[in-house]
Amino acid sequence: MHELSFAESTLELALRHAREAGAGRVVGLHLVVGEFTPLEPTSLEFYWEQITKGTPADGSHVTVRRVAAQLTCADCGATCDARDETWVCRGCGSSRLRMTSGDECFLESIDVEGAARSSPGCPSGVLGSDEARSSPGCEARWGTESKS
């Protein structure tokens, strides 16, 4: 369920960066998500298809790079797989482990195409701006802000 919030935020972020790059369409997105981040890619894809309809990210492909959760020993520096449930260092037996990766959750890059063009009803040159968003006909092109 919370993947909808993640999808809406991702869309807003991607469209903003596309706009700033002067691009017309977003065709691909590259997310980096840690193993401990509560984000299920299949569920995200489902919502993504629904919420991007009619936006410049319609039909875009999302790839998710999962980062393994790792614990690093504060005493000997060895790294351990967090799925080993004892959380004791295999190297030196220390229990002073610290989480060093696995909570990532960011948009790394987007693939874009075409140049931003004005469309009927949108103030020229400000496509996707607040001004354009409030104009009928532009909302569908650039999407609206997250409702939550």
């Binding site: 959380w87 948009l107 890059s109 195409e113």
Partner: protein
């Protein structure tokens, strides 16, 4: 011809931005705030009732209560003497910064010292959404089992304090407190932990003292 645009920005940055605004608003009013997270039934509302009663003569308490439906929890908080606002998330499994902002608008912050935000009972996603509170507290309870930090590291990670509630049940449940605390401390090296029972009141004084110190600490910062 397509090309790649580097972004490197947190997916929830819009939420984080709103959360920062909430934090500023709370700080301006001198209100110390806590995001209380737990699975359903761990004792969030019981802890709020106990806290309201325990600190009633010293601190003015407000509660923002997130639930899928009903105002049962806010009613309990109000009965315990707190200014209470219910937010029904309508199926959403967590509170986010925008919902808390709406809750803040309904409170008279000039009459509040301590704000407890009771998140939706869920151990999966509330941790991902910064609400703009000063501190994040997780309530676990003995019947849930001592393996939860290992099974839900995402939720047990980046918290400032943990309360283990229902310790009056320890004699009857196979729960290794040491194993539990080790898991939480690995994920949060500088964490505060409290072993409490909202049923008997055991251990709650340490929790109250911590809240008193944090409230006073925020006030000292605001004054400076």
């Amino acid at each position: 011809m397509g090309h790649r645009v580097e972004v490197i920005e947190d997916i929830l940055s819009a939420n984080d931005h709103l959360a920062a605004q909430n934090r500023e608003r709370l700080e301006a009013a001198g209100v110390f705030s806590v995001n209380l997270m737990a699975s359903p039934g761990a004792g969030k509302t019981s802890l709020i009732e106990r806290t309201a009663a325990g600190l009633a003569s010293e601190l003015r308490l407000a509660v923002i209560d997130g639930d899928l439906a009903t105002s049962l929890d806010a009613d309990r908080a109000a009965a315990a003497g707190a200014q209470a606002v219910q937010i029904n998330t309508g199926g959403q499994c967590h509170l986010d910064a925008a919902m808390v902002r709406r809750g803040l608008e309904k409170l008279d912050l000039s009459q509040v010292d301590l704000l407890l935000v009771e998140n939706v009972g869920n151990l999966v996603c509330p941790s991902a959404f910064d609400l703009g509170t000063h501190t994040r507290v997780l309530i676990a309870s003995v019947p849930e089992g001592d393996d939860k930090p290992y099974k839900y590291p995402g939720s047990y990670h980046s918290i400032d304090a943990v309360l283990l509630n229902k310790i009056d049940l320890l004699p009857y449940v196979a729960f290794d407190v040491k194993r539990f605390l080790h898991g939480v401390e690995v994920l949060n090296p500088s964490l505060q932990s409290f072993l409490v029972s909202c049923q008997t009141g055991e251990g709650l004084e340490a929790w109250f003292s911590w809240l008193r110190r944090e409230v006073a600490g925020l006030r000292a910062e605001v004054v400076r």
